[in-house]
């Protein structure tokens, strides 16, 4: 057990590393780091803002020596409570450590500090013809460090994959204060265990990431967006499956259900079909000929499945307009009730229709308002439960308790991209057998025998 009492002597030592300005201890400051995008809050005892890897090395040594906890934090937008300091201690906040260290156009990679905001990285890359393909719903504020720790997926995962697929290397401070550099500058590399992948998705439990080398891609020049409304959700899902079987890989293949359609229409008024069961939004990118050719095939598939309305963009502005239907989804429905919980189950894509039907049935049975957004091509479903009381929160839990065995039973996962944290810890047993969880705990123990980093995580 570590102590979680930071006395004034320890604060002075922290100030010795970071300077007075970058160590915060007032009640007000502590409250500001007690929350993230999840509901539960926990107060830290101090917050520090590193600027350099060396400072973190010293901090970790201090934590081991004086036995206090450390919890890393980017922008605090994760939806599973993995950045709140569950057992107090010090929050290591990366928001000021956000330099871009290198952009290499010849080998198409960039080296950035962990606090770099994804959208800011994209801006830095403007004019190079390159881009970082991971696009989260939260890209405008999420940091690369947070995205690495949660292996974030997002909107373009269908074509481009997830964060893990773009990490070439990491600089990591280990729980004993040692600094290591993982990876190489090539995509192919089979020397030793793949530590990049181990740290990626570890929810900050194995090390503190200070620098990330990300692979960049050539930015496609042309975009086409198709928006189809369906009166029957089954037809929409059949279209998804046929698209996936066509050999064409859309950049995005998104689905929204009737509640989302109505919420968006009420809020942004863009003329969606309010009686439709769902819409499918498909984005194709690439060179002009390819996009034209692919869109014909996709159009035929969509039309074959009886859309009640079919739209296709003819210009970049039109594409953007159609995207508004999808991008306004979260915000529009979040307005209905004070609490909005975004779930994140993911199933093999052939099971999409029956899973969505089950979610709708369960929401109805328990009397909870639910709106579904899905990265349908990935089988990644985000049922959003809109709640206004503790009682309703319990109902949402009851729904998940009924849903989870089904999800894991058909080979799906309880979280496709948001992470486990404290939010989904209670469902962990549906997916991980004890032997697997024990192995993970042993890995944690090997890296962090004293349990300094992110205590109270999904492993505890």
């Amino acid at each position: 057990m570590l102590t979680n009492q930071l006395n004034s002597k320890l604060i002075a030592l922290l100030e010795g590393i970071f300077g007075k300005e970058r160590v915060k201890t007032s009640k007000e400051e502590l409250i500001s780091y007690s929350y993230d995008g999840f509901i539960k809050e926990c107060l830290p005892e101090a917050v520090v803002f590193p600027l350099e890897t060396e400072e973190i090395g010293q901090l970790v040594k201090l934590a081991n020596e004086h036995r206090f906890y450390l919890t890393s934090r980017g922008s605090g937008t994760n939806l599973c409570g993995s950045s709140v300091p569950k057992k107090g201690g010090v929050v290591v906040c990366f928001t000021k450590m956000e330099k871009i260290l290198e952009i290499n156009t010849a080998d198409r990679y960039a080296v950035v500090q962990a606090g770099k905001i994804l959208e800011d990285l994209q801006k830095d890359l403007e004019g190079t013809g390159l881009f970082y393909p991971i696009d989260l719903g939260s890209s405008r504020i999420a940091t690369i460090g947070g995205a690495v720790a949660l292996n974030s997926g997002g909107m373009r995962a269908l074509k481009y994959g997830v964060t893990r697929d773009y990490i070439l290397g990491l600089k990591v401070v280990l729980p004993d204060g040692q600094v290591i550099k993982t990876g190489v500058l090539t995509k192919k590399n089979v020397v030793g265990y793949d530590l990049n992948s181990l740290f990626c998705g570890s929810e900050g439990t194995l090390g503190i990431v200070t620098e990330v080398t990300v692979k960049l891609m050539i930015k496609p020049k042309n975009t086409k967006v198709l928006l189809n409304h369906y009166q029957d959700i089954g037809n929409a899902c059949t279209a998804v499956n046929e698209i996936m079987a066509s050999g064409i890989i859309p950049t995005a293949l998104e689905l929204a259900d009737n509640l989302v359609i109505n919420a968006v229409e009420e809020y942004v008024k863009i003329g969606l079909k309010k009686d439709a069961a769902a819409f499918l939004l498909i984005e194709l990118t690439g060179d002009k000929e390819q996009v034209e050719r692919d869109s014909k095939v996709i159009e035929a598939i969509c039309k074959k499945n009886n859309p009640s309305r079919f739209e296709i963009s003819k210009s970049a502005e039109e594409s953007e307009k159609l995207w508004l239907a999808r991008k306004s989804g979260f915000g529009s429905m979040a307005r209905y009730k004070p609490v909005c919980i975004a779930e994140d189950v993911t199933v093999p894509v052939s099971r999409l229709a029956e899973t969505i039907t089950l979610i709708h049935e369960l929401a109805k049975k328990h009397g909870v308002l639910q709106g579904l957004l899905a990265h349908a091509g990935d089988g990644n479903l985000h049922p959003h439960f809109l709640l206004d009381s503790k009682e309703e929160e319990n109902k949402a839990d009851a729904i998940m308790d009924e849903l989870m065995p089904f999800i894991t039973g058909i080979g799906g996962t309880i979280s496709g991209e948001h992470g486990v944290g404290i939010g989904k810890k209670k469902f962990l047993h549906y997916q991980l057998e004890k032997s697997q969880l024990d192995l993970m705990r042993r890995i944690k123990k090997l890296f962090d025998p004293e349990g300094v980093l992110n205590p109270g995580s999904f492993l505890d």
Partner: protein
């Protein structure tokens, strides 16, 4: 207080507002972010804070730019919650000495005119002969503009044209009087019958945003009386912030005063920002001669976040024959210049950083002139450019139009 608590309670903590907040973007500390401010407000109303010392400072550290509201998926009125709490804290602490001085100057048209006169004589004569420079908010004295002749009252010609009351506001009346004169000339050329009045009072924004809405009530009443005294087709503003006083803040002041609230509501459809009015004018291009200049445009926060007037200024600029327009803000989102009420006086460092960032973006466009539509932005941008040693000129759009009137 219930209202404030409700806003704070409704926050989803999604963080969308963080990178939209100019203060957060500079400082990168959650406590000053809109999400952080709402959480502080929640803690304060729940009595969880040891004192109000820090929250006062946190709430002060806000430009009232409205960007958090504009970018919140739930459209939470965070600036309003901040304002309400500022009002509560004002009740306890009153003004600091800067605002006490302002209150004295701005509450009364005589003191306002006198102060401006005094400032013009002393400052205009000595600015350039000062052997040293002095800080003035985010800028320095030598980077501040000289004060122009104040704007004089103009009466209607009663020529049968549409009647426009031009509400100039303190800055375009006493600092940038030329902007006011340009506005009057352009409106006249467009066929409006223009009136400017000596009786127009300070809209009160500098005091309102410090939480002192009581002090502004008199000015607000006088302004509403003035504007309802006779018939006007339009009441036109060159300062978007003054306009938001009428459109947003005055409703709050007269929440419990049915008479004034009704008068205000009647006025509402006539209140218009000048580029919003002019953009409707089909004949504008015919009135303008060729302008061989390269320009860019800075979106004032209140134009974007409160008035939704984003397209109009661009339409007008592009209506100028021969003008080369370079966009500096393709996202069409506000990115604050750092002026914001009296923010630059209280937080000069952050304001200066924001100003210099703006300078960088302006320089990138290669424009000779940066246009804007707000006197406070003009002051801050012109000063920042001068401070950075740049010779790019800063103008209100209306001044450029006036320059090229045939």
């Amino acid at each position: 207080m219930k209202e404030t608590a409700k806003i704070a309670d409704s926050c989803l903590k999604c963080g969308f507002c963080l990178n939209a907040c100019p203060v957060y973007k500079e400082l990168r500390e959650e406590i000053v972010s809109p999400r952080g401010k709402l959480r502080q407000i929640k803690a304060f109303t729940a009595g969880e804070l040891p004192s109000d010392k820090i929250i006062r400072k946190v709430l002060k550290n806000c430009l009232m730019c409205g960007s958090c509201f504009k970018n919140c998926p739930s459209s939470l009125a965070t600036p309003h919650a901040i304002q309400k709490l500022r009002e509560e804290l004002f009740g306890k602490y009153g003004h600091d000495f800067i605002k006490r001085g302002m209150k004295y100057v701005l509450s009364n048209n005589k003191t306002r005119a006198l102060s401006a006169l005094w400032a013009r004589i002393v400052y205009n004569n000595f600015r350039d002969s000062l052997p040293f420079d002095l800080p003035a908010g985010a800028l320095t004295v030598k980077n501040m503009p000289l004060l122009a002749q104040p704007l004089k009252a103009v009466d209607f010609k009663n020529n049968g044209n549409k009647k426009v009351f031009y509400f100039a506001g303190c800055v375009d009346k006493y600092v940038f009087g030329d902007t006011g004169r340009c506005a009057a000339r352009v409106l006249d050329k467009l066929g409006y019958d223009v009136m400017i009045s000596e009786d127009e009072k300070c809209c009160g924004i500098p005091l309102i945003i410090s939480g002192d809405i009581k002090a502004v009530k008199k000015n607000a009443e006088a302004n509403i009386e003035l504007l309802t005294r006779q018939y006007y087709d339009y009441i036109v503003f060159t300062c978007p912030t003054c306009l938001t006083a009428f459109k947003e803040k005055y409703y709050d002041i007269f929440k419990e005063d049915g008479v004034f609230k009704n008068k205000l509501a009647e006025l509402e459809p006539k209140l218009i920002e000048i580029t919003g009015l002019i953009a409707k004018e089909k004949k504008l291009p015919q009135l303008l001669g060729a302008a061989g200049v390269k320009v860019t445009y800075h979106d004032p926060c209140h134009m974007v976040n409160s008035l939704d007037t984003v397209k109009e200024p661009r339409e007008i600029i592009k209506a100028l024959p021969g003008v080369e327009y370079v966009e500096m803000n393709p996202e069409l989102a506000a990115s604050c210049c750092g002026s914001g009420g009296f923010y630059h006086v209280y937080f000069p460092e952050t304001a200066l950083k924001l100003g210099l960032k703006k300078v960088k973006n302006i320089k990138k466009t290669g424009a000779e002139i940066v246009l804007t539509a707000c006197p406070a932005c003009k002051l801050q941008i012109a000063g920042s450019l001068k401070r950075a040693g740049s010779d790019v000129k800063t103008m209100h759009i209306i001044e450029l139009l006036d320059r090229y009137l045939k």
